[in-house]
Every structure is written in structure tokens, then in C-alpha cells.
Symmetry: D2
Subunit: 240 residues, 4 copies
Amino acid sequence: MTPIRVTVWNEGRHELTNSRVKTVYPKGIHEAIAEGLREVGYEVRTATLDMPEHGLTEQVLAETDVLTWWGHMAHDDVSDEVVERVHKRVLDGMGLIVLHSGHFSKIFKRSMGTSGNLKWREIGEKERIWTVNAAHSIADGIGDYFEIEHEEMYGEPFGIPEPDSLVFVSWFAGGEVFRSGCCWYRDKGKVFYFRPGHETFPTYYHPQVRRVLANAVRWAAPTNGPQVTIENRAEPLEKI
Amino acid sequence: MTPIRVTVWNEGRHELTNSRVKTVYPKGIHEAIAEGLREVGYEVRTATLDMPEHGLTEQVLAETDVLTWWGHMAHDDVSDEVVERVHKRVLDGMGLIVLHSGHFSKIFKRSMGTSGNLKWREIGEKERIWTVNAAHSIADGIGDYFEIEHEEMYGEPFGIPEPDSLVFVSWFAGGEVFRSGCCWYRDKGKVFYFRPGHETFPTYYHPQVRRVLANAVRWAAPTNGPQVTIENRAEPLEKI
Amino acid sequence: MTPIRVTVWNEGRHELTNSRVKTVYPKGIHEAIAEGLREVGYEVRTATLDMPEHGLTEQVLAETDVLTWWGHMAHDDVSDEVVERVHKRVLDGMGLIVLHSGHFSKIFKRSMGTSGNLKWREIGEKERIWTVNAAHSIADGIGDYFEIEHEEMYGEPFGIPEPDSLVFVSWFAGGEVFRSGCCWYRDKGKVFYFRPGHETFPTYYHPQVRRVLANAVRWAAPTNGPQVTIENRAEPLEKI
Amino acid sequence: MTPIRVTVWNEGRHELTNSRVKTVYPKGIHEAIAEGLREVGYEVRTATLDMPEHGLTEQVLAETDVLTWWGHMAHDDVSDEVVERVHKRVLDGMGLIVLHSGHFSKIFKRSMGTSGNLKWREIGEKERIWTVNAAHSIADGIGDYFEIEHEEMYGEPFGIPEPDSLVFVSWFAGGEVFRSGCCWYRDKGKVFYFRPGHETFPTYYHPQVRRVLANAVRWAAPTNGPQVTIENRAEPLEKI
């Protein structure tokens, strides 16, 4: 079986200017995410905002089964042309995994048709992420819940369409809840949003976060089996 | 407009034996619920487990647009025949609102096809109920969230089908979340589950709880407009 | 009760140039739609593409509970600014009902995040519209199905998100099916797509089509009840 | 990777008495279904109504990842005890694929909470099955639609809960539509209903039908990856 081809996209700006982020993610957030996905056998490349065409050329996208997206301070620097290109690929079958502050990215708002609004608070409180659909393949290996000791809080109301499947809901020590793991279908493509991942916390080294991302890639990847036709059947139906 | 006809069903056993419950609900839980629904103009009757046929005769059900269900310690005392009768009426269009510990009632499990399992803890902690679908009519007038100072905790995983609409999610001080307001369609009928309502707390006097129940009755009530047919149209289509 | 305020928007171009359309809709498609909605007591105004700001000023939108949208040949002539304005109002609670060829309108694609693609064939074949969610208020009074003798065919695959509720599915004589009545939530607003309504057929005089539109307006209208707060409750909770 | 373990259950009564069925399925419907699933590498066993405990002992179910269910004339002969046993396993994670006339089986009604009602007509008309969710893995390799030359017709309204994902919709020559491929989550388990498969037609030799079943087994199978815990992570989070 050919391995799933993942492109991990990262804005990559915080890492240049914020020493805390540099310390937590010395090679950039994208490398921490990529490392987790390589561990499970995917074929992973990375791309960042400051590469030509943000590293998302037609060819790169054509060779990508699943794209993960991390952005925060520079959503507006992503060119509309690249956003349209990515969106077109999603509708054509490429999986898209939007992470954390990507809720305000152009590609997420473009794909959802909603505001992406939410509440937030950045004091590094505890997040407990509950599985609410244990039957879903993205929850595989997670159990009832897992915890992240320090994370930024995101709270409802979250300006998203009702998820086609809601897999995780977060509890925050400060009193909020959040729909943290959400699946949607968009034409031939699948979109997953996953909440955790603030740049100043080591979230992308967290084993359960990595497991969720690995599961999500598998779910979001297109299933590209050969087309079945009446001609390629094993035996004639007419015989009966 | 004819008022919506509601039957408020209550097991009515805790009130007989538990002095705390007697103090909080001197006329029974059903009367507190009924009072809130009468306030908004519905035509409300009550029925309890210990009435003949549990107060749910064919005639009562035939005259009921929406049935609310509160049960806890005596789920097994509800006769299978009455459960089937209620279920048949739900499939035929009667709305059903299942409250709190009704998650383990025969009629809820029969209507859902799932276990109804959940976690619980009874220390009277704070519950904060968040609106996650502000567009839904059941959230009308509620705002981002409301609080109940003391309630029993219910936690995920909750053994229900994915809601057709998820309206509320609860946060609990002890670290749990819960899908607290859930809508489903069942043939011609609608089902709403609403979490709060432990018998030892004055939850059914709470203004926002009452508002949710009033909203839910309106949503769950069948829409019984006259059948439109090609014959009763205003003007002939053939003219064009 | 204040009547629901509807703005019926129409591109209004076919009526100027196509004599068949002029014959079927002498006052424009918008007046036929508006007439059906006035019959049930809504407060209806109309707006068209060639009015200043397409008739959709900030004030008009502020006074609109539900906007219906018919467009076809001139989707690109709708200004992006007005589309953003309408979208913002939808997210803030205004209902949106997109009709027929509006599947390719900017506002629909903007609200869905999908392509809006579909198959079509214009030979005026028979359409039979089946109710698949009889419990939904938009199906009220419709029964199992109704027929439109002559309509343009739209066929799957239809490039939309999975509907939050799927109410109608069309059968076409030529062999296609189509998800004809689809509901979605978008932040605080609701969106309904309804398939029938080709400009050369008298579809908007059809009694069941009018009934669906009347039902859909009621469903999509915001529920603007007064905010309930702990302060405006009838009696103190503390007493218990 | 261990192969998915499938148990193909068949009532097996028509084959004993109806010569047409005997001709089409000389080894029974179950063997035709099993053959198709073996082709793709699953580990398949069969079980029938007239075996002790209907062939569905605790041990068989414990060793089953996905159970397919074909029944028609003898739904009432299935013991309630076995139905409860199967249901319990579904809630605990076993996939369930209900086929054709299984819409009236005890296990399907038990799992859905609805009537399972539908319309039918048995004249062997053409069925065209349209994909309405091309992104779903169950539609892999199917394309826009496929046809079955002769099948029994099933028509809406179909007494099921709104599918969590609707993958296929059937068109019938006689004027009906039907939600033919429906997914639901039930606690930890997944349920798929697939419409075609009347006993007098060679439907289970049809290549696209076989492909759908193979896809559905893969989707419905539990994902049993090892539980991830904070202890089995690769590197300490504390270091940062």
C-alpha cells in the first residue's frame, strides 16, 4: 500500500520572533507535527508561508493526500490565489486538517461558510478533551478523555457549521467548553478541525494529540480505489 | 391558534419517600414542570406512574402534542405495553421531551437504540450550560450560557446516537462535559433530551431551564397544517 | 405577534429579454414568490439586481427576518460588497432561502464552502418531490410527495455540505435524483435550499411549492424572544 | 495487519422453498455475500437462522468485527435473546450491516428506534443508485451512480432516523426515491443499511454491490489501535 502523502503547512512567523516559541519548537511547529506523522509511516513534507507560493504549488497539492494547516498572526498574508487553489483541491478530494488558530484562516472560513468566531483566554490553564463519539475512527486509541496540562482556552460559541461528526469536546478549568474535534464533508473532500496547539506550549509533542492527528490523516485521506464498472466484474450477471 | 397540548409525566416516587424532594417539590416534580409550561400558555395536564395505565391511556396520548418524561428509580415499573404505545405515538408525530434521569427510561432507550449510559456524581456542583447552536429555536432567549448553582453531574461518554442537532453542552466544575440538549427526528416525531433536573435541586423553578422547556415544547410539537393538494390551489396552473 | 418580514430578491434579468418568462411571470419572478408569501400573512418586500445596491442596503437587511434569493444568468453582477453584507446578516441571524439556480450564486457558495455543482437538463420533464423527513416543520402539509409536471432537471452529485436536515429528495423522469430541500445552520442564522423554480415554468404558482416556501420562511426566521436572565425570574431560587 | 473478521448472517428460508431463489443462490444468499467479501481478503464465516442460537453464540460474536444481516420472511423467529446479544455487541463496537429486507428485522428496529416502514413494489424494475456523498469511504470506486437492471422497489417515506451520513439515494423507474446507503453511530459501534438485495435477483453477484459491501465492512469495522497514554509517549513533555 502506498503511504498517505501529507503536507504539513505552517505560517512559521512566531518561531522567528518569539523566544518562547523558538524554545518549544526549535525547528518550527511544522517539524514537530511532521515528526509525529512520520512516526506512523506517512510520507510527509512541510511548507511554510514564506516559501514561494507559500510552498503550495499546483504540483505540491497534486501530490498531497492530506494537508494540515497551522496559522495565526499572518492569515491575511496568505494569497487569495493560493487559498482558492487549496480549496479547489479540497473539493476535489484532498483532506484538510485545520489546527488551533487556523479557525480564522482564509481556507477554513472559505470551506465552512461561517465566521470561525470563538472566545479565548491565554493563561495556560488545563484542558481536558473528552471523546463524544467513541465509534469514530479519529477517536481510536484515545479512550474517554485525555488532558493537556497547559493550553490556551477556546470557548463556545464557536462559529462553525454543525459538524457532520463531533468527535471531541474540551473542558477548560476556567468554565468553558469547546467543540474540539469536528468533521465535515465538502464535495469529494473531508475537513477536520482540531483545537489544541497554541504556539507557546509543547502540544504537538503530546502523545494523544499526535495520535489524534495520525487518526485524522487516515480518515481525511481520499479513498482512491479503482473504479468498479459492470465490465470489470468477475462473472456475467446475465447467466442467471 | 389552538394551544399546544402538553402531558407532563412524572414517576412521582421520590416525592413520597424523600423529605428533601418533598420540600423542594411539594406538589411533585410534575407540577413544577407543568407550572412553567402553563406560564407560556400551553394546555398542560400531568400524569404519574401510579395512575391506571400510568395515566397514559390511548385517549390521553391521542390528545397530547408533546409528552415530557421524568423518571428515575422505577424505570422497570413502567409497563412495556405503555412504552410501546408511547413509542408508536412518537413515531406518528407526538413530540417527546426526555428529562435528566429519563436517559435510562425504557421509552428513551427504545427511541434511541443505544445504551443511554453516562457517568454521574452527586455532590451538587455547579453546572454551566453552553449554547452551541445559537440558531436553533430551542436556544431562543438563552444567550451564550446559563448556570445552575447546584446539580448532579452527568458526564461523557453518553450512550446516545449523534444528535441531529446539538443545542447545549454542559460544563461541570469537577472536570466533565456533557451533551445536554439534543434533538432527534424519529419517523414523524421529534425527540429532545434535556439534562438538568435532579430531584433534590430546585432546577425546574430555574427561569432558563423553564425557557428551554417552553422552547423545546414548541419545537417538538407536530405541525399539523392542512394538507395542500393540487386541487385546493388558488388558481389553475394550466392557465399558463 | 409581529409578522415575519421577508425580502424576496430576484435577479430580474430573464424577465426583460425572454418572452416565455415574461408570459409566465409578467410582474417578475419576485412578485409571484412575494404573492405566495403575502397570502400567509408575512410582511413582504421585493428587491432586484438592478436597484441601487441591488436593493439590499444595510437598512433593508436590518429590517429583514428572511431573505429569499433567485438568480441565474447574472450571478457575477452581484457585487462582492453586497454578498459580504448579506452573509454577515445571515451569520447574525437572518434566514436565507436560496432558490433553484441560486445554487451557483455567490451568497450560496459563500455560505456553504462548496462548489454548488450539479447536473442539469432542460426538457421540461416531470419532477416528483418526496418528503424524507416528515417530522420537519418545512414538510408540514406536504404529505409523502407532490409533483411538478414540467421542470428543469437537476441531478446529483450536488456540491453541497451534508444537510443538517434533508427534507426533500426529487425524482426525475429521466433517471436522476436530487437533494431538493436542505437545511443548514450557519452561526446564528439558518439557510434553506429549495430546488424547483426554473424561469420558464409556472413553478412559483404551484400550491405545494408555495406551501414549502411559507413553511421555510417560518423555520428560517430568527427566534427573537427576550433574553432570560436569572434576574427576571418569577420567584427566587434561594427560597429553597 | 490482521484481516477483518466478518460474519455473514442469513435467514436462509427462501432458499429452501422458492425454486427461483434456489436457482439464483444455489448455496444460499449468505454464500454469495461471503464470496464477495472473501475476494477482498476478509476472514468470513457464515451463520443462519436454523443453526443453534442462530449461529450467533457469544463466542462467534466476540470473534466478529462486522456482522452482515439478511432476513425477510422469518424476522419473528429470531430470538429476543440473540437480538439483545447482537445489540450489546454493536454498542460495544462490532459493526453491523443490515441488508435490504432487514429493514424490518428486530436488530435493525432495535438499533434505530424507528419503525423501519417503507413502500415496496415487486415487478423487477430498474434501480439506479446515486452517490450523494462522494467523499465517504463507502462510495470509494463507485462513481456518480450504478444500475441494477432488475430489483424490488423500496420507496420513501423510510422510517429511519436521519442518517449520520447519507451515501446513496436510489432512483426507481416507477417514480420513487429511497435513501439506500445510510450510516449511523451507536455508542462504540457503527451501523450501515444498504437497500439492494431481493432474493429473486442476482444482486449479490453485482460488482458494484460487492464493492459497496466491501467498503462498508472496512468502514464499520472497529478501529482497535492500542490505547495511547501519557506514559507510553516517546519523550517527556516536562523537558520543555
